[in-house]
Symmetry: C2
Subunit: 259 residues, 2 copies
Amino acid sequence: MATDDLPETVRASKAPAIARAAAVLRLLGKRGTAMGVQAIARELDMVPSTCLYVLRALVIEELVAFDPDTKRYALDAGVLTLARHWLRRDKFHDLAQPVLDRLSGEYGLTTLAVKLMGLGHIIVVAMSQSSQSFQLSTQVGSRFPALVSATGRCIAAFGNYSDAELRPRFDVLRWDEPPSWEEWRRQVDQAREEGIAIDAGHYIAGVTVAAAPVWTKSARPSHALVAIGIGSALRGEALPRLKHALRDSARSLSDQLSG
Amino acid sequence: MATDDLPETVRASKAPAIARAAAVLRLLGKRGTAMGVQAIARELDMVPSTCLYVLRALVIEELVAFDPDTKRYALDAGVLTLARHWLRRDKFHDLAQPVLDRLSGEYGLTTLAVKLMGLGHIIVVAMSQSSQSFQLSTQVGSRFPALVSATGRCIAAFGNYSDAELRPRFDVLRWDEPPSWEEWRRQVDQAREEGIAIDAGHYIAGVTVAAAPVWTKSARPSHALVAIGIGSALRGEALPRLKHALRDSARSLSDQLSG
DNA sequence: GAGAGTCATTCAATATATTGAATATTGTTC
DNA sequence: GAACAATATTCAATATATTGAATGACTCTC
């Protein structure tokens, strides 16, 4: 989920405490600073006493740290352990990392491997940056809206979504230089033909982004490889070569993951 | 917690669903492989239907991924996002990283920053390895028993725990070359005098580990800096110098964190 | 290709987590 | 330093999550 205000999420579920707990964790993550029971409860529309019990349970599980002096709650290191476990067994992460390193080194840019989480958002699961490229800094675990930038065109091109599903999501995106809906649709079509999507300075001015889909077995792509280059780095000859390399790498990964 | 079989954890709490959810997450993390409802329920002594509802809630929160084909559940990338948030605002992590990098480079060894979670265990929150050192590989998020190795002596020396608390924990530790209780107590005393703890090949044969405590404000140290060197790298002159450097760095971090 | 065994899933009854008002505690203002 | 305001926390009543038996779906065996 992403709503963070937990209206139907809680009501529908048979385990609402879990939805509340997750919302608390996300809130504490977003804020960063430690928060009191009341503040958390207000933010999430929870009853303070309920919030307290949720927090206590999370403290026991070491997902939340409690400072007895200030009576404030913050994320605890337990979340790190979970993340490490995830990274250890994710096949895609393992296979993608060396590919990213090679691409980064060869073309002198930043590369990402992302997991596509439907139409909601994507999550960066691996990253590699060339020593020469400026830190177009993104971290593993970062989330971005699904339809933005090159990855967004990739999802739209290969996800078989209807315009009715895409349009409302598209309309709320934030770009440096927003494309019109028609323009974007054309670029999506082109991405479908070429097997790779390009964002030429729309998402971030002066930055070119390329994204190639990776399939595991389902009808829709589950992941994508992304390359990010400062505009000048991908002028002329370089971009076509990169497109080939990225597309081939993505295909190769798809094969390995399906087999 | 850590028991993972959730006996009193669930019963005592006012939000048992959260304890169950955490246990499920840890189990899925430990196993790595995707699991079915029944298998998870059996492992954790849960009713299958309850387990199903817990899993569904976790899937909605994107902490668990569900494969509709195989009907198996596994950790999802959402845990990454939480971890990233934790790393972003943890003051200790931010301050410790450059210190670790400097120490690693200067002495050609692997350094860690760990968070001390009471007498149960410690969690690695930052790491730096010198290019020349062999990968004494440990990852951010790794957990170790609290009392083992140099960190263990550090905790025992500065934590003000009674022998009655320490002994049972000590007796179940696994070492390459286990020290006797008396021997260990002497080493703990020495650590208290010197302000830094050493494990000379006990935990892992041929590997010397040093750990210096970091205080934030409470009576007990909250973190520690750790240096790990292949035996020969810390013979003779090198070890005393490293001890000084590590202790000074830990002191300096303590000051910065308290201020 | 039928049958047994396992698995995921549903459903109504009950044990229980959630609620909000009341109390205790903390921090703040004059 | 006292009184206030805001917060954390407790507690019993109720709305509800948990339970386990029953159903449906699946896979493996002969």
